[in-house]
Symmetry: C2
Subunit: 220 residues, 2 copies
C-alpha cells in the first residue's frame, strides 16, 4: 500500500488545479514515449464492471485534422447563429479549438457492446459505459498536465460526421475529441473562458448539500 | 506556468495507477479538511462552456445510508437474476458496495439546466454536461487517493429512487453515488474485479488506433 508524502499529495493537487483547456499550441511534436504514458494513464481509469469500454484513435495526419476542423467550423458557425447579441459577438471572438495547430488529436470513444450484455454495474444505470470513458479522459488530461502537454476538448463537432471521417463503426460512440500539444505561452493562470469574461467559477459552498438537496437553503 | 519535476510527475501517475474502487472500509471518520479538499478538487474539473453542472450531496446519516443501501440490495438481487450459472454464483460472491460501512457517501449530480439554454460547446454534443460531471468524479477519486481515502462508485442503484431519498429535484440527474472512507486492509494491488477473477485488464495496444479505426487490424 502506497501512502503519499505531503509533496506527492501537493503534486496531485497541482495537476488538478493547473490543468487547463488549451486552444493555442506550439508546433513541437509530442515525443512518442510521452504520448504513450498519457494514453496508458487513460487506460488505467476506473470502469463499470472493469469493462474498459474506451478506444483511442490517434490522429496526426494534416488532412484528417483539416477534415475534422471543417466540421468544427460549421458547428461553431451554427452555434453562433443561435446566440442573440451581444453574446453572439462575444462568442464569435472566442478561440474554441486548436485542431489544426495541435500536433496530435485523440478521439476517445465508448463501445457499449464491450463485455455486454451483462456488464456488472450497468443493469440499473445504463450509461455508466459513457461515464467510464469520461473518467479515462480526465486521467489523460491530468497525466498530460504533469507532462507539460496541453489538452483541449472540442465538443463543437457533429459526432456522426466525426465518426465517418475516422472510420469509427456505427455502434461505437465518439465521446471526446481532444487536441494535444505544448501550449503556446504556457498554461494560463485561469480557465480561458474565465479570462475572456465568459463565465466565473461558481462558489463551491452553493454546490455542496448536507445530507439532502434542501433546495431552499443553497440555491435561492 | 508551473512545470512538474520528475518526482511530481511520478506522484500524479502514482495516484492514477494506485487508485482503486474500494468496497471495504474502516469506520474512522474522514477529517473535515480532508473531505473539503477532495470535493474542491472535483469542483476544479473541466466543464463544457465552464458550466460547472455538478452538485455534491454529502451523506453521513446512518438512516439515509441504510435507505440507499436497501435500494442497492434490490438492484444487486435483480442483476443477479439476470445471469445464467455459473456467472450467477460468481456474481453473488462479489462484494459490490460499502454504503453502510463507509463514513461518508457523496452523490454527484448533473444539472442540465445550469447556464442553459446556450451552454458553449453543448449545441452539437448535448450530453457534455454529463461528461463534465464525470470528469469531476475522477478528480475527486484521484484527490482522495492522494489523501489515502478510498472511493467506491455504486452504480447498482435505481437513480429515481436515489433521487427521492436525497430530495434531489426531478430535473437534476444523479450521476455517481460514491462511498468514501479509509480502506480496510489498504488499497489492493490490482482492481478488485481482477483480483476476484471477474475480468482482466485489456491490452492497450488493441485499443489504440493509428489515424483511423481500421477495425480489421486490431480487433479481429
Amino acid at each position: 500500500m502506497v501512502s503519499f508524502t505531503e509533496e506527492e499529495r501537493s503534486a496531485v493537487y497541482e495537476a488538478i488545479y493547473a490543468r487547463r483547456d488549451i486552444r493555442r499550441f506550439r508546433d513541437d511534436p509530442i515525443p512518442e514515449d510521452v504520448l504513450e504514458r498519457i494514453v496508458r494513464a487513460a487506460h488505467h481509469a476506473p470502469s463499470v464492471g472493469f469493462s474498459q469500454p474506451w478506444d483511442f484513435v490517434v490522429v496526426r495526419d494534416e488532412e484528417t485534422k483539416a477534415e475534422v476542423a471543417e466540421i468544427a467550423d460549421r458547428a461553431i458557425a451554427a452555434a453562433r447563429e443561435g446566440y442573440a447579441e451581444p453574446t453572439r459577438s462575444e462568442f464569435a471572438a472566442l478561440k474554441l479549438e486548436g485542431i489544426r495547430e495541435s500536433p496530435v488529436n485523440v478521439c476517445v470513444t465508448c463501445d457499449p457492446t464491450r463485455d455486454a450484455p451483462h456488464v456488472l454495474g450497468r443493469s440499473s444505470m445504463k450509461r455508466t459505459d459513457v461515464y467510464s470513458t469520461c473518467l479515462a479522459v480526465q486521467n489523460l488530461w491530468l497525466a498530460a498536465r504533469a507532462e507539460g502537454v496541453g489538452v483541449g476538448w472540442v465538443s463543437v463537432l457533429y459526432p456522426y460526421e466525426l465518426q465517418e471521417v475516422l472510420g469509427i463503426p456505427p455502434h461505437i460512440k465518439p465521446i471526446a475529441y481532444l487536441c494535444l500539444g505544448y501550449p503556446e505561452g504556457g498554461f494560463p493562470e485561469e480557465p480561458v473562458l474565465q479570462q475572456e469574461g465568459w463565465r466565473e467559477r461558481l462558489d463551491l459552498e452553493r454546490l455542496v448539500h448536507d445530507e439532502r438537496w434542501e433546495s431552499d437553503r443553497d440555491r435561492s
